[in-house]
């Protein structure tokens, strides 16, 4: 199964293609080396033969046949390497001097190179091979000077065998290695596939196993697992949201239905009807408001609005928010103020930032202490900007802090204050859009929301 999928896999096919390409190139290089070496060795031996031949020919031309015979005999008596062969015959092919028994039949040309085996032996193939220069001398005699090239042949044959062995070995090693590598790759991919199938069949709780090798496959698996975590969280959120939407919509809808039913069965009294219709419209508006908040958050989360980002002064926006909420704070006897730097530039969307800061201030006023103190502070910090909204109210229990940014989440203590539980979800969405980090801190007593903008305006 694994082997079959290994052989089918693209990785293996690519590896094969690489092996073939590499093999052809390597073979060409080896063939060149072999041919070059062989021809180099042969040309050296040819040069030696040629030098010897020229020497003998010179002696013949200077001093005649007798001198040449003398010279050859001297050479054979010990003046020349053992593998050299010499032969001088007369026009009737009778041997005059030399260490060959008879003129080789292959050497027929007037002058030129010839290769032959030692003549006259019964088992020709095992006889030494010679390469020789032969020529017919002016007097009709024929001279042959050569050397035993059996060693050269076996040297070339050994190189050839070694080259072929290396190429074969390389090919085998490469094929085995690519099968192993591909098998490993296919194995990891199979793991991911198996997990994917398990997720499709049973649910999002499965994760791809890590091997702890911290290699690229572990990183892929880690990232896929993180993605699965995120999807699981989102799915959970969606479920939570739909549950909450159902709950929060059912309440006003039930109220409206009850009211209308009562009016339907009761008599028509102008004044009652008007109050009833007014209340129903108010409830409907609340429902519609909830819908537009949800679609607004969803729209922000699509990141479309990043296209309209400009450099804005956070202090200016925060001041406008503080000014808008000044009246509400005054009504509650709360001291709402702004501090910090005069200019804090960030890249963003003015309306959305206004909305987010307004929600934080609104929360601080609603859930803070009546007659308390709320401070909005904007500051430039190293490599970014921060805006903090601090109140001195009852705060949020630590265990609830992760939940407050969820849609429709409301603390038990504030279930009956006005609001739809979407404010902080919107803050979170706006922060995320701006690449800002939200921090929720204890300010004993009270609560501090901080938005860290890490990308300062250039």
């Amino acid at each position: 199964m694994l082997l079959a999928s290994t052989l089918r896999s693209t990785t293996f096919k690519l590896a094969l293609a690489a092996i073939v390409t590499f093999g052809v190139i390597a073979s060409a290089i080896f063939a060149y080396v072999y041919l070059f070496t062989a021809s180099f060795v042969r040309s050296r031996s040819d040069q030696a033969i040629m030098a010897e031949y020229s020497g003998l020919l010179g002696a013949y031309e200077r001093s005649g046949r007798r001198e040449l015979i003398e010279l050859i005999r001297n050479r054979l008596a010990g003046g020349s390497p053992a593998e050299h062969v010499y032969l001088l015959v007369d026009h009737a092919s009778d041997v005059l001097a030399g260490n060959l028994d008879k003129w080789p039949s292959a050497a027929t040309a007037a002058q030129g190179w010839t290769e032959f085996r030692a003549p006259g032996a019964p088992d020709a193939a095992s006889q030494p091979r010679f390469r020789a220069m032969s020529a017919t001398l002016p007097g009709g005699d024929r001279l042959l000077v050569g050397t035993d090239i059996s060693d050269l042949d076996s040297f070339a044959a050994k190189i050839k065998a070694a080259v072929i062995a290396i190429i074969f070995l390389m090919f085998v090693v490469a094929v085995v290695a690519s099968i192993l590598v591909t098998q490993r790759t296919v194995g990891r991919i199979e793991e991911i596939n198996a997990t994917s199938r398990a997720i499709m069949q049973s649910g999002l709780d499965k994760r791809i196993p890590l091997r702890g090798s911290h290699d690229e496959w572990d990183r892929v698996a880690e990232n896929l697992n993180l993605m699965l975590d995120r999807i699981e969280t989102l799915m959970g959120d969606v479920k939570q949201v739909s549950d909450n939407v159902a709950h929060d919509l059912r309440t006003p809808l039930t109220r409206m239905r009850g009211r209308l039913e009562k009016a339907y069965h009761g008599g028509r009294i102008g004044e009652n009807d008007q109050a009833l219709i007014g209340d129903t419209i108010a409830d409907l508006d609340a429902v519609l408001g909830m819908f537009s908040s949800i679609t607004r958050i969803a729209h922000i989360e699509t990141q479309v609005r990043k296209g309209a980002f400009r450099t804005v002064n956070l202090v200016e926006i925060a001041s406008e928010v503080v000014e808008l909420y000044d009246a509400a704070a005054e009504r509650d006897g709360t001291d709402l103020s702004i501090t910090g730097d005069h200019e804090v530039r960030v890249t963003g969307d003015r309306d959305l930032l206004f909305d987010a800061i307004a929600n934080l201030v609104d929360n601080a006023i609603k859930h803070g202490r009546a007659g308390g103190k709320i401070v909005v502070a904007c500051e430039n910090v190293d490599g970014g900007a921060v805006i903090a909204v601090t109140d001195d109210g009852p705060g949020i229990p630590t265990c609830e802090r992760d939940h407050v940014f969820k849609r429709f989440y409301r603390l038990e203590q504030s279930r009956y204050t006005p609001g739809n539980g979407l404010g902080l979800s919107l803050v979170a969405a706006v922060a995320h859009l701006h690449g800002a980090r939200i921090e929720l801190l204890d300010h004993s007593p009270g609560l501090q929301f901080k938005l860290w903008f890490s990308t300062p305006a250039s």
Binding site: G278, S293, E323, L324, Y325, A328, R331, D351, F354, L422
Partner: protein
């Protein structure tokens, strides 16, 4: 808006909504032309001089914005009120940039529509050149940015003055919270809280407390109206 110029072109493709609008606008004293498509809107818009044209962004044939541009290019001077189901701010602002004069997001209350139509219709009339506006015993000085009642100064913050000025300019007409947010604060969204009410409440205390009669009135479920007793 002059009595002879209360003709409105409503471009709306949903027949029921169009019918409701026509009925309510007629009972509010407007003459109503209906157009159910972009092409019909182009024909009717060019053929008659309207006080205001309300136009839906999503029309079956031509996009509302395109219709508006073509009418403008054809010399139609009437203000446009864009009605959109695309609730997001950038869509709204895109509508205004394209030459719309005001926008309204579906679903809207008829009162809100009426308030905006009145405001738009008034804008197309000649703009008063007075630098001091008076309503009853209230006088606001647009140059000095001050307000007083019966000669007694009312201390107002700049934004409070802007709010009062907007109410005064729309004297006798209902102004919705969304209109205040849009025109006084330049904010193109609806905060979910009653913050505008609280803000108007404070302005009202400054303007109306210990006076002979109140000027700023809450219109239940709709908004505010500044008017002097008759």
């Amino acid at each position: 808006m002059t009595a002879g110029h209360r003709r409105i072109l409503v471009v709306e493709d949903d027949p029921e909504t169009a019918g409701q609008l026509a009925e309510q606008l007629t009972s509010s004293g407007y003459e109503v032309d209906l157009a159910a498509s972009g092409n019909e809107a182009l024909r009717r818009g060019a053929s008659c001089d309207h006080a205001v044209i309300t136009i839906d962004r999503m029309l079956p044939d031509i996009d509302g914005i395109t219709v508006m541009r073509q009418l403008r290019d054809g010399g139609v001077a009437a203000p446009f009120l864009i009605i959109s189901a695309l609730g997001e701010v950038d869509d709204r602002v895109r509508g205004l940039r394209a030459g719309g004069d005001d926008y309204l997001v579906k679903p809207f209350s008829f009162v809100e529509l009426l308030a905006r139509l009145e405001a738009l219709g008034r804008r197309s009339e000649t703009i008063a050149k007075d630098t001091i506006l008076r309503v009853g015993d209230l006088a606001i000085d647009l140059i000095a940015r001050t307000a007083n009642r019966r000669g007694k100064d009312i201390p107002l913050l700049p934004r409070e003055f802007q709010l009062l000025e907007y109410l005064v300019r729309n004297e006798g007409r209902v102004v919705s919270r969304a209109m205040l947010l849009q025109h006084v604060w330049d904010l193109h969204f609806d905060p979910s809280t009653n913050i505008i009410d609280v803000y108007v409440g404070r302005v009202r205390r400054k303007v109306d407390d210990q006076q002979a009669y109140p000027l700023i009135h809450t219109v239940r479920g709709m908004g505010y109206c500044l008017r002097a007793p008759r």
